[in-house]
C-alpha cells in the first residue's frame, strides 16, 4: 500500500536522523579548542567506561581532563537540551495549533530566568552551592507555569487562547522584573547576561545526571502521546468527537513539555530558536504526523544544538560565542533555505 511505503520511508528517515545524531556527537567530542588525537579520545572514553579494557595511556592528564571532564558532558548536555527544547516546541505548536509557539511561549523561560537571576543577584539558595542557580531556575519555571495555568483555567478547562494570553502577559511581567534586577545590580550584570544568553560552558557530569531523569520522563510522556497529539491537530472539538479526553491529554502534554523546558532552562539558560525552528524543519521533511515529527524533532534538536555548540566553542578560539547566537545565525538561513526550496508542493 502506498501509505505503508510512505510510513516506511519516514521510519527510515528517523533512523537516519538517529545515526546522524550519534555521528555529530562523536565528531563534537573529537573536536575542540585544543586538538586531541582521535585515538586518544577513544582511548580515554573506553578507559573510563570499561576500565578493564583501558588501553595503555599515551595521553596526558590534561587531555583526559579535556575529553572526559569538559567535552563529553558538554556534548551530552547540549544533545539533551536540544532534544528537550525541540520536543517541547513541537508539542506546543501541536497543542496550540500555532506555528509561532515555542517552548518559552507560556512563561516557563521568564520564570526560569527570574529564578536564576534571584539566585545570582540576591544570592538566594547559597547553601545549595553550584546547584543554587539551576534549582532556582527550575523552581521559577515551575511557579510561573503554575500561575499561568491557574489564571487561564475557566470552568475546569484550559482554553488555548486564554493560556497563550496569560503566558504572554506573565512573560512580560517576569521579564520586566528580571530587567529591574539587572539594573539594580551592575556588579553581577555580566553573570546574569551570560546566564540569560544560555550555553554549556559549565556543563558537567552532575548536570547531565541531574537533568536526565526529568528529560527522560518528559520525553517518554510526549512520545507515547504522539498519536493523541495527531488527533488534536484536527482541533479540540474534532478530537473530542474522535474519543479523545482533550482536557486531560492537553494537561498531560503541557506538563511534560513544561518539565522538559524547565529542565533545559535550569541547566543551560535561555537558548532560543531551537524549540521554534527545529520542529518546523522536521515538519518540512517528515510531514506533520507527530509519530515521526516528535522523535525526528528530538534527534534533530539534539544534533543541531551539539553542532551549534561545537561551532560556538571552536570558531573564534579563545573566545566562545553564545550558543544562541550560533543557532540563530546558522539555523536561521538554513531554515529559510528549506522554506524557499519547498515552493513545489510536497507529496
Amino acid at each position: 500500500m502506498d501509505l505503508e511505503r510512505r510510513w516506511e520511508a519516514r521510519r527510515h528517515a528517523v533512523w537516519l536522523m538517529a545515526a546522524a545524531t550519534v555521528l555529530v556527537m562523536v565528531v563534537a567530542v573529537g573536536m575542540g579548542a585544543v586538538p586531541v588525537p582521535a585515538g586518544h579520545v577513544i582511548g580515554i572514553i573506553t578507559g573510563r567506561l570499561v576500565p578493564a579494557f583501558a588501553p595503555t595511556s599515551s595521553w596526558t592528564a590534561s587531555h583526559e581532563t579535556i575529553v572526559w571532564v569538559i567535552r563529553l558532558p558538554r556534548v551530552l548536555l547540549a544533545g539533551m537540551v536540544g532534544a528537550a527544547l525541540a520536543l517541547a516546541g513541537a508539542t506546543y505548536q501541536g497543542v496550540f495549533r500555532n506555528p509561532m509557539a515555542d517552548p518559552f511561549v507560556i512563561g516557563v523561560s521568564s520564570g526560569g530566568a527570574l529564578g536564576a537571576v534571584l539566585a545570582i543577584v540576591l544570592g538566594w539558595g547559597r547553601g545549595l552551592g553550584q546547584y543554587a542557580i539551576p534549582a532556582f531556575a527550575f523552581g521559577g519555571a515551575v511557579v510561573a507555569l503554575a500561575l499561568v495555568y491557574t489564571l487561564a483555567r475557566i470552568d475546569g478547562k484550559l482554553p488555548v487562547v486564554t493560556l497563550l494570553l496569560a503566558g504572554v502577559a506573565m512573560s512580560t511581567i517576569l521579564s520586566a522584573l528580571v530587567s529591574l534586577l539587572i539594573v539594580l545590580s551592575r556588579q553581577r550584570m555580566e553573570q546574569v547576561i551570560f546566564w540569560l544568553m544560555g550555553g554549556f560552558t559549565s556543563a558537567r557530569w552532575s548536570s547531565v545526571g541531574l537533568s536526565l531523569p526529568y528529560m527522560i520522563l518528559g520525553a517518554l510522556v510526549l512520545l507515547r502521546r504522539s498519536r493523541e497529539l495527531n488527533v488534536m491537530l484536527l482541533g479540540e472539538e474534532a478530537a473530542t468527537h474522535l474519543g479523545l479526553d482533550v482536557e486531560r491529554v492537553k494537561r498531560e502534554l503541557l506538563a511534560a513539555a513544561a518539565l522538559l523546558t524547565a529542565t533545559a532552562v535550569s541547566v543551560a539558560g535561555l537558548i532560543g530558536f531551537v524549540g521554534l525552528v527545529i520542529p518546523h524543519m522536521v515538519r518540512l521533511t517528515l510531514g506533520p504526523d507527530q509519530r515521526w515529527l516528535l522523535p525526528g524533532a528530538a534527534l534533530t534538536g539534539a544534533s543541531g544544538l551539539v553542532l551549534a555548540d561545537l561551532l560556538a566553542r571552536t570558531v573564534m578560539v579563545p573566545a566562545e560565542l553564545p550558543v544562541g547566537v550560533v543557532t540563530a545565525l546558522v539555523g536561521g538561513p538554513f531554515f529559510l533555505f528549506l522554506l524557499v526550496r519547498r515552493k513545489k508542493p510536497r507529496r
Partner: protein, 262 residues
Amino acid sequence: MLTVDRITCSYRNFVAVREVSFHVPAGAILGIAGPNGSGKTTVLRAASRVLRPRVGRVLVDGRDIYSLSHREVARTMAVVSQNGQVDVELTVEELVLMGRYPHLEGMRGEQATDFEAARRAMEVTSTDRLAGRLVTTLSGGERQRVQLARALAQEPRLLMLDEPTAYLDIGYQVEIMDLIARLNASTGLTVVMVMHDLNLAARFCHHLVMLKDGRVRASGTPAEVLGPGLLQEVYGIQVLVQPHPLYPCPHVVPLSAHDHLA
C-alpha cells in the same frame, strides 16, 4: 438510540438552548431545522458530548452520555461538523485513518482491520481515488466527502452531521444526501443532521425537529412540521407549501414580502 432529555445549554450567561427534548429511534434519520441562531448546532454539540448541558441529560442506548468514556462515545457516534476544514498537511488516507483512533488499543498501531475499515469508508464515499492527495488541496465538495469517510471509518451506529450540504453546489448536495440515505437504508445507520435547506430536509429526513429561540417549536414527520402557518411564525416570511411533484414529501416555496399570493 439517542434521547435528548430537557437539556438547557448556555455559553457564559447566554442561554442558547432551553429544555429541548427529542428522541431518535435506531435506524431513523432525524433533521434539526430552524432559523439562524435558533440553537441547532448547540443541540448537536450537546448531543455529541462537546458541550455539557447546564440542565438535562443526553442518553445513548439509555445510558447517560457522561457515564460513558470518550472512546465509547466515539465508537458509537461520529460527527461531521460544519467547520471541518483541516489545515494540517495530511493525506486523505491519513485523515480517514484517524477515524480509527477510538478503536486502537493501547500502544498498538493500526491493524489490518483498521486499514480495511478506512479503505471501505473511502470506497463508499468515492474518495479512494483521492487517497494520496493532501487534504489542504481539496475542493469543498471533496473535503466534505473526506470528512464523511473519516466519520464512517469510525464505524459508528449514529452519525451526526452539521449542515452537510453547506457550501456545496446542488450536484454535490444531492450526491451527499443520497449517500447518507443509502447508508441508512443499507446498514441501518442512525442519522441526526442539522438542515438549513427545508426541501432537502423534507425529502431525506424521517423526522424533523423545528427549533425557534432555543426551544422546540414543533416536531414530527416533515409533513406534520412543515405547515405554512408554522413556517411563517418561525421564519417570519410567507411560504407556499405544496406536495412535491416527484417525491412523497412536502415542497416549500418561500415568497418575497411583496408577493401576496392567495
